[in-house]
């Protein structure tokens, strides 16, 4: 790398850092708080054929988990900055474990390995972990 190229790189780094600083100064460092309607809206857009039979929104507003019993599928909605993202999966296909009030769902995803949903109580966390894992039974129960 030549001296000129180094100088140009230095300028670009300085501009980048300055812009990040200005953005923060302008109040753009924002985090969304997920509620039921926001999670439903995002799921309806990303997965329009996913029927939400039941949903639990984390009490910290960072994530939510939902189940479509008819299809034997689950979905998580999680916050990323001021935006939301979703992942849909077959029940029983992913790891799910409850530790106290925290439900942890392991995703086979490069950009997001796991999502934690903070349940309102220990029983809810355990119940949702069971739902995420007990796919065959849930599906048989749900099919009309």
């Amino acid at each position: 790398m030549s001296g000129d190229e180094l100088a140009q790189l230095g300028l670009a780094v300085a501009v980048t850092l300055a812009l990040i600083g200005v953005s923060a100064l302008f109040g753009a460092w924002r985090s969304i708080r997920i509620d039921g309607p926001a999670a439903r809206d995002r799921l309806a857009f990303d997965e329009p054929d996913f029927t939400i039979d039941d949903m639990m929104v984390g009490i910290d507003g960072r994530s939510a988990v939902a189940v479509d019993r008819g299809k034997g599928e689950g979905a998580v909605v999680f916050a990323l900055g001021d935006s939301l993202a979703t992942r849909r999966f077959r029940l029983g296909a992913l790891g799910a474990a409850a530790a106290s009030t925290r439900l942890r769902i392991s995703l086979h995803d490069v950009s997001r390995r796991e999502v934690d949903v903070l349940a309102p109580d220990v029983e809810s966390a355990a119940e949702w972990a069971r739902r995420m894992q007990a796919a065959p039974l849930e599906r048989r129960d749900a099919v009309p």
Binding site: L19, V22, R112
Partner: protein
Amino acid sequence: MQFPDAVQTAVPFFGLFVVIEMIAWRLTGRGRYETRDSAASLAMGLGSQVAPLFGGAAVVGAALVGAYQYRLFTVPNTLWAVVLCFVLDDLRYYWWHRWSHEIRWFWASHIVHHSSQHYNLTTALRQTWTGQILGSIITKAPLALLGFHPAMIVFVGGLNLIYQFWIHTEMVGRLGPLELVLNTPSHHRVHHATNPRYLDANYAGALIIWDRMFGTFVEEVPEEKPRYGIVKNLGTFNPLLISFHEWISMARDLKSARSWREALGYLFGPPGWSPDGSRLTSALIKERWRRMSAPSKEAAGGASPVTA
């Protein structure tokens, strides 16, 4: 005629216009900014300027110079030639861009540019660190073979990139008759949207005429606000993961392939392709959308909103 490094010259102006857009966002409430998203976009932009220095730029330059040795004509370095080269380069860009959405190997690089859920001037700078070499050689070499000087080809490519900067904004509405010819913020918002109605449309660089000619033009409609990003939005702001996540996913898929056909499908099929059809390509997403919205359209007596 000397050809300056247009992109390097423009870098300080990129920064200035980002600040102006942020101020406009604070004053008017139009558009949307998030610091970590912007930081990720800017980091990607910075990396995209550094990455070619590791050899890619030299390889592309050598390929263009090599092709120029076998040129059919010798186009003089005049203003009209620059204009002609710009138009032909824009046509080249249309097809390269379209392949970047239709072929997963190329999409693995281009997905980076679409991976933000925001649409502002920093999104314009969210550029790939990989994948410019093969695509540039394949699509730019014909211009050198036609007889355009390699320096001119690089120059007009830079101009095209600079043009595309300002159209990444929600601040600008529609631009009247200019919408017929130029790629505008409105047209490019459609391109970045994940609404099924808008998927795989408006691949233009500077001139929207190519989309109109090749049947990929879709108009932005007031009743459907674009929702930006990719159909499976990222769960990270980490620039390394943003840059390489699709390559890693592709490698995983390739490892699971049970035949050559599957391997080729994973590499060169459309993004979202899978052997059993369990994943969704954009064509399948659009098909699902048409199917699910059909009753409501019939009730309203409307035609299909897909214009592409």
